[in-house]
């Protein structure tokens, strides 16, 4: 599916792209469908099964779209994390401010 980018370079993954927006739109929809679908399914309402199935599918789709990007963001960020943590400690202990 060419519309969805599945291979990310580190600098591309750091940008906010359409894949993020697809996840942002799908995510609340998934919650609504899973919540309403579950309760109606327990009551054996046919719409419950349809909504729940749609919710499960959209949840899978959302992860399929966003997961490669999240993996790249994570692997790149963890390389820099150690330095950032040291800086965080210096700030908390006022070391940077006091020189």
């Amino acid at each position: 599916m060419g519309f969805i980018k599945r291979n990310w370079k580190p600098w591309e993954a750091d940008e906010w792209r359409k894949e993020d927006w697809i996840a942002i739109i799908l995510s609340p929809l998934c919650y609504i469908l899973l919540m309403v679908g579950t309760v109606l399914s327990i009551l054996l309402n046919i719409w419950g099964f349809i909504l729940l199935a749609l919710g499960v599918f959209l949840t899978w789709l959302m992860h399929w779209v966003i997961d490669p990007k999240l993996k790249m963001i994570s692997s790149e960020y963890e390389k820099k994390q150690h330095d950032y943590l040291e800086e965080l400690e210096r700030n908390a202990r006022w070391e940077e401010i006091n020189g």
């Binding site: 370079k9 580190p10 600098w11 750091d14 940008e15 906010w16 993020d20 996840a23 942002i24 995510s27 609340p28 998934c30 919650y31 609504i32 899973l34 919540m35 309403v36 579950t38 309760v39 109606l40 327990i42 009551l43 054996l44 309402n45 949840t59 966003i66 997961d67 999240l70 993996k71 963001i73 994570s74 692997s75 960020y77 963890e78 820099k80 994390q81 950032y84 943590l85 965080l88 700030n91 908390a92 202990r93 006022w94 070391e95």
Partner: protein
């Protein structure tokens, strides 16, 4: 009162031994450093903090609250619980941004996003408020357990409050967040299993799903099975206008930080995840479980309605789900059910004990009192703070009957007028510490005016809560937007540093261009053929 048999007590004692023992078993990991005591060393796979999100947000008072709204409004009442859906967008936006900041707490994040005196004032305020809030929530949840024990065994209220919170404190004091997260995992599983068992038992007691639908229809109550059964666009106590407001607060709130009171708890789970990806999934899946659990509860409450319709008093029907468990489960399972209630209870207590202690230790003690403190000392301060929170919660819990309405008002005013500033601080580079501080201060006064003083003097009519929200947001914006624009933005050097590390979403153009000019976003420069 419920009569326990030997098998019932066996389950309860076994559970307490396992849960306290499991927590204490992580003593050696918890005492290694401040990072271990409060964030489990930032190394957890997503499913552990996810189970903690779920367990923490399954408190003793949660089934009481969910039962109350579903019994009253049918399954449309589930929308009251949909405020948790702020995690839908947050999981992929503010969670990612917050995880990259690496801040232990939201108070610390303020000094990363903002700068100078304003940032420090915000850090001091948010940390003090969070220590208080966690103590208050501990008292609130604790006294709910006191009430459950009073209903079950006829115990005095203080016994249930003090006994189970104290048992829980043993493993929080010993192992800190390691104890919290490991106990939450097994407590989450036990609680979820029991919620399913009790709910299925209740549904079968009402004759099964088909019979529930039939009976509701014959009672003229079929609307209770409609998730969109509102009372009109603006009329009644459950209008569409409320629903739309709730959806906006919950869903759009995910772009911000602190738009829900739960954010502060989730922030700790976010930072304890081993990567940005793990943080995102922990928040998303933990909340998905919370919402589907509410659905299971809702179906059981409909069953309870069919069995016991037309209960006039809220205090009575709110206990409906508990009654399904204690009145319909067989001997042996009742004890297991009570053990699950203890699991539900202590998972919330443990989280708030450790969270409040983290704000005290990291933001108040380390940052303002003793910046030279050693790791060992910080772990001990964390333990002392945990103990103080525990004792404070007993005090709050026992006086809760008198102060609940005041403190719920305090919670509400914390939420309404600063909802938009909580988003702006994430998405708008120009929003500064003074704008954010002015929003907090203005909201304090405006809430009193809009909710109590102006209606009391007849200046405005008493407004439903969703209308109060919009009015407070508008009035607040008339103050914090001018304050922001009339004061300087944060120093560009500080903003660039934050931008490069956290990569926030929204309107950050000038900061991004400055970062490009400084060569800090080199890949983007290459792609665009040079900085603009």
């Amino acid at each position: 009162m419920v009569q326990f048999q030997f098998l019932d007590w066996f389950w309860v004692v076994l559970f307490l031994m396992v849960t306290v023992g499991l927590g204490v078993a992580f003593y050696r990991l918890g005492k290694r450093s401040e990072s271990d005591f409060f964030l489990a060393g930032r190394g957890l796979p997503w499913w552990l903090p996810a189970s903690s999100v779920y367990a923490t947000h399954t408190a003793t008072d949660t089934p009481i609250w969910v039962t109350g709204v579903v019994y009253k409004y049918g399954i449309a009442g589930l929308w009251y619980t949909f405020f948790a859906a702020w995690c839908a967008i947050s999981a992929f936006v503010s969670t990612r941004i917050f995880r990259r900041s690496l801040a232990y707490t939201q108070a610390e994040w303020n000094t990363i996003r903002f700068h100078g005196l304003g940032a420090e004032m915000l850090r001091g305020w948010i940390s003090g408020w969070q220590v208080f809030m966690n103590m208050f929530i501990l008292g609130w949840v604790g006294i709910a357990m006191g009430k459950v024990c009073n209903y079950l065994f006829g115990w005095e209220l203080w016994i249930g409050l003090v006994l189970f919170s104290s048992l829980c404190a043993i493993y929080v004091l010993a192992a800190g967040y390691w104890g919290v997260i490991m106990a939450d995992f097994q407590q989450g599983i036990i609680a979820f299993l029991m919620i399913i068992i009790v709910s299925v038992w209740g549904i079968m007691a009402a004759g099964g799903p088909s019979m529930i639908a039939e009976k509701l229809t014959s009672m003229g109550q079929a609307w209770r099975m409609n998730p969109f059964a509102f009372t009109g666009w603006f009329e009644g106590d459950f209008p569409v206008a409320w629903f739309i407001t709730m959806m906006i607060i919950a869903v759009i709130g995910g772009f911000g930080m602190g738009t829900s009171i739960d954010w502060y708890v989730e922030a700790q789970r976010i930072q304890s995840a081993k990567s940005v990806r793990d943080a995102s999934y922990s928040i998303w899946w933990g909340t998905a479980l919370v919402l589907t659990r509410n659905s299971v509860w809702a179906a059981a409450i409909l069953a309870f309605y069919v069995i016991s319709p037309n209960i006039p008093t809220q205090a009575e029907y709110e206990l409906g789900w508990f009654k399904l468990g204690f009145e319909y489960l067989p001997v042996g399972l009742i004890g297991f059910f009570f053990a699950a209630l203890i699991a539900i209870h202590v998972s919330t207590i443990a989280s708030h004990l450790n969270l409040g202690a983290m704000y005290f230790t990291r933001d108040l003690y380390l940052h303002y009192f003793k910046p030279t403190a050693s790791e060992k000392e910080l772990v001990w301060v964390g333990r002392i703070a945990t103990l103080i929170l525990l004792l404070g919660s007993f005090f709050y819990g026992l006086m809760m009957e008198d102060i609940t309405s005041w403190l719920i008002f305090a919670l509400w005013l914390m939420a309404a007028g600063i909802w938009l500033p909580n988003i702006l601080q994430v998405v708008w580079w120009r929003f500064n510490a003074w704008g954010y501080l002015s929003a907090w201060i203005a909201n304090l006064g405006l809430s009193w005016l809009v909710v109590w003083i102006l209606p009391h003097w007849g200046v405005i009519p008493p407004l439903p809560d969703y209308q109060q929200f919009w009015l407070l947001m508008l009035l607040g914006a008339l103050i914090f937007i001018p304050v922001t624009l009339l004061t300087k933005h944060e120093p560009m050097e500080h903003l660039v540093k934050y931008y490069v590390q956290a990569r926030p979403i929204g309107w950050w153009g000038p900061v991004k261009r400055e970062a490009q000019k400084l060569g800090l976003l080199t890949h983007v420069e290459l792609k665009n053929g040079g900085a603009k």
